[in-house]
């Protein structure tokens, strides 16, 4: 992996096991500033584990991960580094006792020590960014799935992260709600946010990804620009998976 100034995230030979289950078997990759990379692959292949290794929610057994100049895997101040890595969960995981505005501002006040009034102003801007300023005082239970996920994205954005990790952000959504979330993510990608996204939304991948990474069995099988990977994959297995995927999702991904 070549290291250059623009590299936001870099990992080398990352391994992770849960008991006897060797989930990640040596993953190396890097993301440069402003890039969007999409991680695809069959379930149980370690895509989500890779994301939680990056923010050390499940620390890897071996291998190294850097965020800019800081080696996350050797850091004593993981909390500090996590502020710089946004994380968007499949099940949203909004804080149930807080309004949309509270969800977005709590990291600013509690983690960044920002003054309450300033935090609310910034949170409001982030809600505007995802088109939900009119839902600021709604509680999670009063929002649709798509709205919840957009609040979760605003919550990640508020921390001014270097990078946002998305763990299947649309898989828990009803089909008609997927579009609004992808719309927001597309906008972020265009604004130059650095993103690593686990997703099987092929249309989304095709239109925004700089690179698609196909993972299987805990390793990266193949990676490349979506046009190349989707039309003529170099590895047979990639093609098989992709054709199965388009059989499932078909044109639905083309939003």
């Amino acid at each position: 992996m070549t290291k250059d100034r623009d590299t936001v995230l870099r990992m080398e030979d990352v391994h992770k096991s849960f008991g006897d289950n060797h989930v990640l078997r040596g993953v190396s990759m890097g993301i440069r500033r402003g890039e969007t990379k999409i991680l695809i692959g069959p379930s149980g292949t370690g895509k989500s584990t890779l994301l939680t290794c990056i923010n050390m929610l499940t620390p890897p057994e071996s291998g190294k991960i850097w965020l800019l100049e800081d080696e996350i895997t050797a850091s004593k101040k993981v909390n500090l580094l996590r502020q710089k890595i946004g994380f968007v969960f499949q099940d949203f995981s909004l804080f149930n006792h807080l309004t949309a505005l509270g969800n977005v501002s709590i990291g600013l006040t509690k983690v960044k020590g920002m003054e309450r009034k300033k935090a609310r102003e910034k949170a409001m801007q982030e809600l505007k960014q995802v088109g939900l300023e009119d839902k600021a005082s709604s509680y999670p239970a009063q929002l649709s799935g798509g709205q919840k996920q957009r609040v979760a994205i605003a919550r990640a954005l508020a921390m001014d992260p270097q990078l946002i990790l998305f763990d299947e952000p649309t898989s828990a959504l009803d089909p008609e709600l997927i579009g609004e979330v992808l719309q927001v993510m597309k906008k972020l990608a265009n604004q130059g946010m650095t993103m690593l996204v686990v997703s099987h939304e092929m249309g989304f991948a095709r239109s925004v990804a700089d690179e698609v990474i196909f993972m299987e069995g805990g390793v990266i099988v193949e990676q490349g620009p979506p046009a190349q990977l989707f039309s003529k994959p170099r590895v047979e297995r990639t093609g098989e998976f992709l054709s199965r995927l388009s059989g499932l999702f078909g044109e639905e991904g083309e939003k």
Binding site: N55, L57, N79, L80, R82, Q83, I85, G86, F87, F89, D91, S93, L94, F95, N96, H97, I106, G107, K110, V111, Y139, P140, A141, Q142, R155, A156, M159
Partner: protein, 222 residues
């Protein structure tokens, strides 16, 4: 004597007793809550020896009769130089006992909060402790109100056991009054009505609090 005569003759000592009962209950529930929080957090988030210690404490307290605990503290400690007034001994016994029960209610409430909440807190850069304080506890405390109200009501009525070591609470006063007027039925009925009234007041108060801090969609049964 009519019931009305009994009330007229005895309301003054009975209200004195009620005051002690309320004092005993409030002190014990508050100390018990503090102890219960420590035990519950220790049991859920502590490292192994702490977890084990908290569990052992809770099991021992829940597994022995409250009256035995009161006797140990009031009659058992003086030989070791610890002399307590009946009220002090009762407050300690009830606090410790209630703390063990409150710990279990709190633990259940804490563990009912989905693990994703803590994951989300950590991933935005909060420490585990910040996650507990800012994210988990505000939700868990709301959930614990109904079982906690139950514990409060139990405790309020259990404080009547303190009469045995001579704490001048409501039950002790009722016995005193009845031993003078020989109207056992009517005097104890009066005491019972006072207990009932005060329980109703508190349970109404706590359900008001529950409604006050309610968050849309966060109820248990939905």
């Amino acid at each position: 004597m009519t019931f009305w005569d009994v009330i007229q003759q005895s309301w003054s000592p009975m209200l004195d007793g009620l005051q002690v009962t309320i004092q005993l209950t409030l002190l014990s529930i508050v100390f018990g809550l503090a102890l219960g929080l420590i035990l519950a957090l220790g049991k859920v988030y502590g490292w192994k020896p702490v977890r084990w210690l908290c569990t052992a404490f809770i099991e021992i307290i829940r597994g022995t009769p409250m009256l035995v605990q009161i006797f140990i503290i009031y009659f058992g400690l003086p030989p070791y130089g610890i002399r307590l007034s009946p009220l002090e001994a009762a407050v300690i016994a009830f606090s410790v006992n209630s703390g063990a029960y409150q710990a279990e209610y709190l633990r259940g409430a804490i563990q009912s909060i989905p693990s994703g909440q803590m994951q989300a807190a950590l991933s935005m850069g909060m420490s585990r402790w910040q996650g507990v304080i800012s994210i988990i506890m505000p939700q868990a405390l709301r959930r614990v109100i109904p079982p906690w109200t139950n514990e409060f009501i139990y405790l309020l009525k259990y404080t009547s056991l303190a009469y045995i070591i001579g704490t001048p609470e409501l039950m002790a006063q009722a016995r005193f009054v009845a031993s003078r007027n020989y109207e056992y039925f009517q005097t104890y009925l009066f005491a019972a009505l006072i207990y009932l009234a005060i329980v109703l007041v508190f349970s109404e108060l706590f359900s008001w609090v529950e409604r006050k801090v309610r968050i849309p969609g966060f109820e248990f049964h939905k």
